[in-house]
Amino acid sequence: MKVKMLSRNPDNYVRETKLDLQRVPRNYDPALHPFEVPREYIRALNATKLERVFAKPFLASLDGHRDGVNCLAKHPEKLATVLSGACDGEVRIWNLTQRNCIRTIQAHEGFVRGICTRFCGTSFFTVGDDKTVKQWKMDGPGYGDEEEPLHTILGKTVYTGIDHHWKEAVFATCGQQVDIWDEQRTNPICSMTWGFDSISSVKFNPIETFLLGSCASDRNIVLYDMRQATPLKKVILDMRTNTICWNPMEAFIFTAANEDYNLYTFDMRALDTPVMVHMDHVSAVLDVDYSPTGKEFVSASFDKSIRIFPVDKSRSREVYHTKRMQHVICVKWTSDSKYIMCGSDEMNIRLWKANASEKLGLTSREKAAKDYNQKLKEKFQHYPHIKRIARHRHLPKSIYSQIQEQRIMKEARRRKEVNRIKHSKPGSVPLVSEKKKHVVAVVK
C-alpha cells in the first residue's frame, strides 16, 4: 500500500542565510485585502512625517577664507576637490571628504571675480580685479617652491567672469566684451560685443560646446556662437540677470538668475517667452547651478537662503538656510548630484545634501523601502494632510515676513490689473501672462 505523505519543497521556506527574512506565503487576492488604500495612506503619511523628521541637510561648513567667498568651481574629475575664490584675492582648494583646505593661493589683488577648471582637471584659471587672467596648476608646488601661476595674461580692462570650454583648450572671459582665448596665446582669438555695457558672466554650453551665453548689466542676456564668431540673439528682461546656467542634459535650455527675485528658464530657440518662471526667492538671485541630472537646479539668493527648484515647476521644492549664513553669492551642485555647496558673504563654504532627508549608504532592503516610501509620497501627494506636512518648512523671520509682504503686493498688483481690465473697453487692455510679463524685448 502506498502511503501518501505531506511533502513540501524546502526551497519554499528555507532561508539561504540567516540574515534573510523569513518567507511568508501570501495570498494576493485583492478580495482578501479590503483596506489597501487606507493602509497605504497611513504609510504615506508616516513616510512624509519621517521625511520631515529626518530632514537634516546641513553637512559641513568649510571655514578659512578671510573675506566673502565670491566664486566656486568643481574639479572635473575629483568629486572631493573644490576650489573657491574670495573677495580678498585668495583662492583655496578644499578637500570635501576631509573637510579641510589643502592649498591656499594669493591669486589676485582685489576680488577674485571668476574661477574655472580646465576640462582635464590639471589646471585652473582665475580672473581678478587686477585685470589679469591667471592659469594655475592644480597640484601644489614642490617643497620650497614659490606659488606661481603657469601663465598670466594682463588685459586692458577688468574681467568679471571666466569659463572654460568643455572639450578644448579654449576659454572665454567677459568684461567689456566676450573674449575667446586660446590657452597658448596672450591675445584673444576672437572677441564679440553687442552693446556697450559690462558683461557680468559668461558660460559655455556643455553639450553644444560652441555656444556661449552671457548676461550684461543692461538687463540683457546675449547668446554667442563661437565658431561663427558672432552673437546670435539678445533678450532683454525687466531687470538685470546675474548669471545663467545651461542645462547639462538639454542642449537648448538655460536658466537665468535675475535681480527681480525670479529665475527664468529659457529655450534658447524661443527667447520671447521663458519656458518657466521660477519664483520663491524674496531678494535678488545671485547664482544658479544645475544638477548634473538636469532635472533640478539650485539658486543662491541675497535673501540668505538657497532654494532647489525642479526644472518644470515654478515653485521650489526645498529651501536651505542657517542662522549664520549671510547673502549667498555662489552655489554649486556637485557632479555626483548628491550635494550642494554654497559660498556666502560671511566667509564660509557650506556643504548640503541635495536631498534633505536622504540616508547615505543604504543596504538593498533600505533602498527598496526608500523607493517604496518615495512612491507612496508621490502617490498621495495631493491629499491635503500629506501635502501640508510635506510642504512645511521653517523659515527665518525675515524671509517669512518678506514672503507675506510680497504676497500682499502681488495680490494688490493683480487686483489692480483685473480692475483695469474690467473697467476698460473690452480688448483694449490685454491680459499678459506671467511668463510674458518679464520679457521686454528680443533683439535679433
Binding site: 547639462p248 555626483d336 491635503p384
Partner: protein, 778 residues
C-alpha cells in the same frame, strides 16, 4: 539743331566758370544774360519795382536755379527742365569718325552695365549675419529635440549615462590569433576545411553566401512570416481537431455528422447545378458506397458487437440507440439512388438525397429517446394515431394504410428486436410506396406545391403551438407527442419536405421559439393563407382546431398589449389636453390656435418626462437611503432546528432585531424643492482630495491610481519592484558628465570648435586687427 545745343551747353560751361568767381552779382549777371528772354526780365523787374513802391522793402532775391542747373560742373543738362540728355545725342557727331571706334565700344559697354547697389550699413549687415547664424544654430540644436523628449518622458533615467561596455571581442578576432596545435584540433580543422566550412572572418559557408545573395532581406522576412503563419494555422487546426476528437458527447458528434452531411448535400446541389458531370461522379461514388455496404453487411446488426448489443438492448437504452443507429446507417448506405427524370429533377432528386441523408427512422428514434419511455410512447402514439385516423376520415389512403399496418404491427406480441427490425422494414416499404405515389401522381404534388411554402409554414406553426401546449401540461404530453409523428407521417404524402423540417422535437422547439419571437410579424402573414389552409386542414385534422381559439387568445393578447402601449404613450395623454383647450380655443383666435398647436406639439414631445415627479421620487429615495437601517442579528439555526426552508421564529427575530434610533430631522424636511446631502463628513474631508489634481482629466483616473496598491503586501516581489522604480537613479561617487552626442547615438562633429574658428579667418582677422589697433592706440 544738336550742334547748336552743344554749342549752347559749352557756352553755359564757360559762363559758369565766370560765375563761380562772382556769385550773386545781380547786375553783372543781368548784363550778361541779355538774350531772347530779355523782355521778360524787364517785365519782371518792373513788377518788382512796383511792388516795392508801397514803402516796405519787399525786394526778393531773384532765383537763378535754371542757370545753375545749366552750368553745373557735374551735371550736363539739356535745355529746359523737361528734356533729358541722352547718350546717343552726344555720340551722334562722333559717328562719322572711324578713329573713335574704341571709345564708342567702351561707351556702349558702359551703357549695358547696371549700376551697383549701395552697400548696406554695418549694423544691418551684422543683424543679417546674426540672424543667419541663429537660424543655423537653432537647426543644429533641434537635433536634440527627440533626445530631450525621450529623457523627459522616460520611466527611469540612470546616471551616469555612458555605460562601460563589456569587453567582448568578436570571434573572428579571437580565432585569428589562435592555431590548432593538438592532433584533435588539427583533425577538426581538417574536417572543417574539407567541408569548406569557413574558419575565420565572415563565418559563412559558400552555400549560405549563395543563399544570402539569392534572397533579399525583405523577401526572406516575408517568406519567414508566411511560413510562421502557416505553421501557426496548422497548429491551430491540429489543436482544434484534437480537441474535437476528444469530445465524448455522442450528441455533439451526431450533430457534427449531420452538419457535414448537410454540407455535402449542399455542395452536391451546387455541383449538380454547375457541373453535372462531376455530380454524376459523386453519385457514382455514393452508389459504390452503397454497393460496398450491401456486400459487406457491415451495419446489418449481424456482427459480434451488434449481437452483444442486441442482448443488452433489452435493458439498456443506449445500446438500443446504438443498434438503431447502425440500422439507419445501413439503410442510408444501401438506399438505391434514384436517377430522376428531367422534369422532376428539382423535387425528386433533392428529396432523394435528403432522405438518403436523414432517414425517418433516425428522427423518430431520437425523438422517442427524449420521452420518458420510448417503448411506452410507441404504443401511445399508435393509440393516438388510431384516434387520429378515426377522427379524420379523409386522410390520404396511403397514410391510412400505413397507420393500420403500423398498428397491426404493434399489436402483435413480438420480441423487441423483431419490433425494431420490423419497424425498419416498414419504413422501407413506406418510403417505396410514397415514392411510387409520387411517381404516379406528380400532378398532385405540383398542385400542393402551389400553395407551397405558406401552407407548410402555417402548418408548422400550428404544430409548434400544439407542442407548446404539451409543454404546459405534462399529462397531455403523450397524446400531443403522438400528434407530431402523426402529422409527420401525414406530411410525406402531400409534401415531402415536411419531415426534413420536423426532424426532431428540438428542431420544432427552435422553430417554435422563432415563431414566438416573430409572432407579431407572422400574424399578418398567417391571416392571408388561412382560408386556403382551413379548407384543407380543418377537414383533415380536428386536432388542429384547438389552436384556433388559442390564436384568438393570442390575438386578444396582442390587442391588449397594443392597448397598453397606447395608454402608456404620451399621445393619449395629450388627447386629454386639447379637450380642455378646445374650450379655450373657442374664445381665442386662430393665431392663438396655431401657437397652441405648437405648444401642444412640444407638450406631446415632452409629455413623457415629468420633472417634478422625478425630483420628488429622487428626494424620497434620498430620504430613504439616509434613514438609519434596523440591524437584524438573528442567526438562523441557532438554538433551534435549521435547514433549507426553515425560518427563525418571529419571536426570535423580534428579540434580535435592533431598531435603529430615529435620527435628527433632515435639514431639507421643510424644503420641498431641495435635497440636502447630509452624508459629508467633516472629519473625513481633511483626508480627502477636494480638487482633481493636475495631470488627471477625470476623477476616475485619479481614483484608479489611488486604488491600485504598490506595496509588497499586495503585490508580488517583481511587481513591487516594477511599481517602485525611482525616476532618477544616480550612483554615489560617480561623476555625471553632461550628455554627449555619442551617448545618444549621434555623430559628434569631427571638427573642433577651435579649428573652425581658426579656419574661419575672414571676420576674425578683421576683428583681431581692430583689437590690435585699439591696443596700440591705447
Amino acid at each position: 539743331m544738336t550742334a547748336n545745343r552743344l554749342a549752347e551747353s559749352l557756352l553755359a560751361l564757360s559762363q559758369q566758370e565766370e560765375l563761380a568767381d562772382l556769385p550773386k552779382d545781380y547786375l553783372l549777371s543781368e548784363s550778361e544774360d541779355e538774350g531772347d528772354n530779355d523782355g521778360e526780365r524787364k517785365h519782371q523787374k518792373l513788377l518788382e519795382a512796383i511792388s516795392s513802391l508801397d514803402g516796405k522793402n519787399r525786394r526778393k532775391l531773384a532765383e537763378r536755379s535754371e542757370a545753375s542747373l545749366k552750368v553745373s560742373e557735374f551735371n550736363v543738362s539739356s535745355e529746359g527742365s523737361g528734356e533729358k540728355l541722352v547718350l546717343a545725342d552726344l555720340l551722334e557727331p562722333v559717328k562719322t569718325s572711324s578713329s573713335l571706334a574704341t571709345v564708342k565700344k567702351q561707351l556702349s559697354r558702359v551703357k549695358s552695365k547696371k549700376t551697383v547697389e549701395l552697400p548696406l550699413n554695418k549694423e544691418e549687415i551684422e543683424r543679417i549675419h546674426r540672424e543667419v547664424a541663429f537660424n543655423k544654430t537653432a537647426q543644429v540644436l533641434s537635433k536634440w529635440d527627440p533626445v530631450v523628449l525621450k529623457n523627459r518622458q522616460a520611466e527611469q533615467l540612470v546616471f551616469p549615462l555612458e555605460k562601460e561596455e563589456p569587453a567582448i571581442a568578436p570571434i573572428e578576432h579571437v580565432l585569428s590569433g589562435w592555431k590548432a596545435r593538438t592532433p584533435l584540433e588539427q583533425e577538426i580543422f581538417n574536417l572543417l576545411h574539407k567541408n569548406k566550412q569557413p574558419v575565420t572572418d565572415p563565418l559563412l559557408t559558400p552555400v549560405e553566401k549563395a543563399s544570402l545573395r539569392a534572397m533579399s532581406l525583405e523577401e526572406a522576412k516575408m517568406r519567414r512570416a508566411e511560413l510562421q503563419r502557416a505553421r501557426a494555422l496548422q497548429s491551430y487546426y491540429e489543436a482544434k481537431a484534437r480537441r474535437e476528437k476528444k469530445i465524448k458527447s455522442k450528441k455533439y458528434h451526431k450533430v457534427v455528422k449531420k452538419g457535414k452531411a448537410k454540407k455535402a448535400l449542399k455542395e452536391f446541389e451546387q455541383l449538380r447545378k454547375v457541373n453535372p458531370a462531376a455530380a454524376l461522379e459523386e453519385l457514382e461514388k455514393i452508389e459504390k458506397a452503397r454497393m460496398m455496404e450491401r456486400m459487406s453487411l457491415k451495419h446489418q446488426n449481424s456482427g459480434k458487437w451488434a449481437k452483444s448489443k442486441a442482448i443488452m438492448a433489452k435493458y439498456d437504452l443506449e445500446a438500443r440507440q446504438a443498434m438503431q443507429e447502425q440500422l439507419s446507417k445501413n439503410k442510408e448506405l444501401t438506399q438505391k439512388l434514384q436517377v430522376a427524370s428531367e422534369s422532376e429533377e428539382e423535387e425528386g432528386g433533392t428529396e432523394d438525397v435528403e432522405e438518403l441523408l436523414v432517414p425517418d427512422v433516425v428522427n423518430e428514434v431520437q425523438m422517442n429517446a427524449d420521452g420518458p419511455n420510448p417503448w411506452m410512447l410507441r404504443s401511445c402514439t399508435s393509440d393516438t394515431k388510431e384516434a387520429a385516423t378515426q377522427e379524420d376520415p379523409e386522410q390520404l389512403p396511403e397514410l391510412e394504410a400505413h397507420g393500420v399496418s403500423e398498428s397491426e404491427g404493434e399489436e402483435r406480441p413480438v420480441a423487441e428486436e423483431e419490433i425494431l427490425l420490423r419497424e425498419f422494414e416498414e419504413r422501407r416499404s413506406l418510403r417505396k410506396r410514397s415514392e411510387l405515389s409520387q411517381d404516379a401522381e406528380p400532378a398532385g404534388s405540383q398542385e400542393t406545391k402551389d400553395s407551397g411554402s405558406q401552407e407548410v409554414l402555417s402548418e408548422l406553426r400550428v404544430l409548434s403551438q400544439k407542442l407548446k401546449e404539451n409543454h404546459q401540461s405534462r399529462k397531455q404530453k403523450a397524446s400531443s407527442e403522438g400528434t407530431i409523428p402523426q402529422v409527420q407521417r401525414e406530411e410525406p404524402a402531400p409534401e415531402e419536405e415536411e419531415p426534413l423540417l420536423l426532424q426532431r422535437p428540438e428542431r420544432v422547439q427552435t422553430l417554435e421559439e422563432l415563431e414566438e419571437l416573430g409572432k407579431e410579424e407572422c400574424f399578418q402573414n398567417k391571416e392571408l393563407p388561412r382560408p386556403v389552409l382551413e379548407g384543407q386542414q380543418s377537414e383533415r385534422t380536428p386536432n388542429n382546431r384547438p389552436d384556433a381559439p388559442k390564436e384568438k387568445k393570442k390575438k386578444e393578447q396582442m390587442i391588449d398589449l397594443q392597448n397598453l402601449l397606447t395608454t402608456q404613450s404620451p399621445s393619449v395623454k395629450s388627447l386629454a389636453v386639447p379637450t380642455i383647450e378646445e374650450l379655450l380655443s373657442l374664445v381665442s383666435s386662430q393665431e392663438d390656435e396655431e401657437e397652441r398647436n405648437h405648444r401642444q406639439m412640444i407638450k406631446e414631445a415632452f409629455a413623457g418626462d415629468d420633472v417634478i415627479r422625478d425630483f420628488l421620487k429622487e428626494k424620497r429615495e434620498a430620504v430613504e437611503a439616509s434613514k438609519p437601517k434596523d440591524v437584524d442579528l438573528t442567526l438562523p439555526g441557532w438554538g433551534e432546528w435549521g435547514g433549507v426552508g426553515l425560518k427563525p421564529s418571529a419571536k426570535k427575530r423580534r428579540r434580535f432585531l435592533i431598531k435603529a434610533p430615529e435620527g435628527p430631522p433632515r435639514k431639507d424636511k421643510n424644503l420641498p424643492n431641495v435635497i440636502i446631502n447630509e452624508k459629508r463628513n467633516i472629519h473625513a474631508a481633511a483626508h480627502q482630495v477636494r480638487v482633481l489634481p493636475y495631470p488627471f482629466t477625470h476623477h476616475w483616473q485619479f481614483e484608479r491610481t489611488i486604488q491600485t496598491p504598490i506595496g509588497s503586501t499586495w503585490n508580488t516581489q517583481r511587481a513591487f519592484q516594477k511599481l517602485t522604480t525611482p525616476k532618477v537613479v544616480t550612483k554615489p561617487g560617480h561623476i555625471i558628465n553632461p550628455i554627449k552626442a555619442e551617448d545618444v547615438g549621434y555623430r559628434s562633429s569631427s571638427r573642433s570648435d577651435l579649428s573652425v574658428i581658426q579656419r574661419n579667418p575672414k571676420r576674425i582677422t578683421t576683428r583681431h586687427k581692430k583689437q590690435l589697433k585699439k591696443c596700440s592706440v591705447d
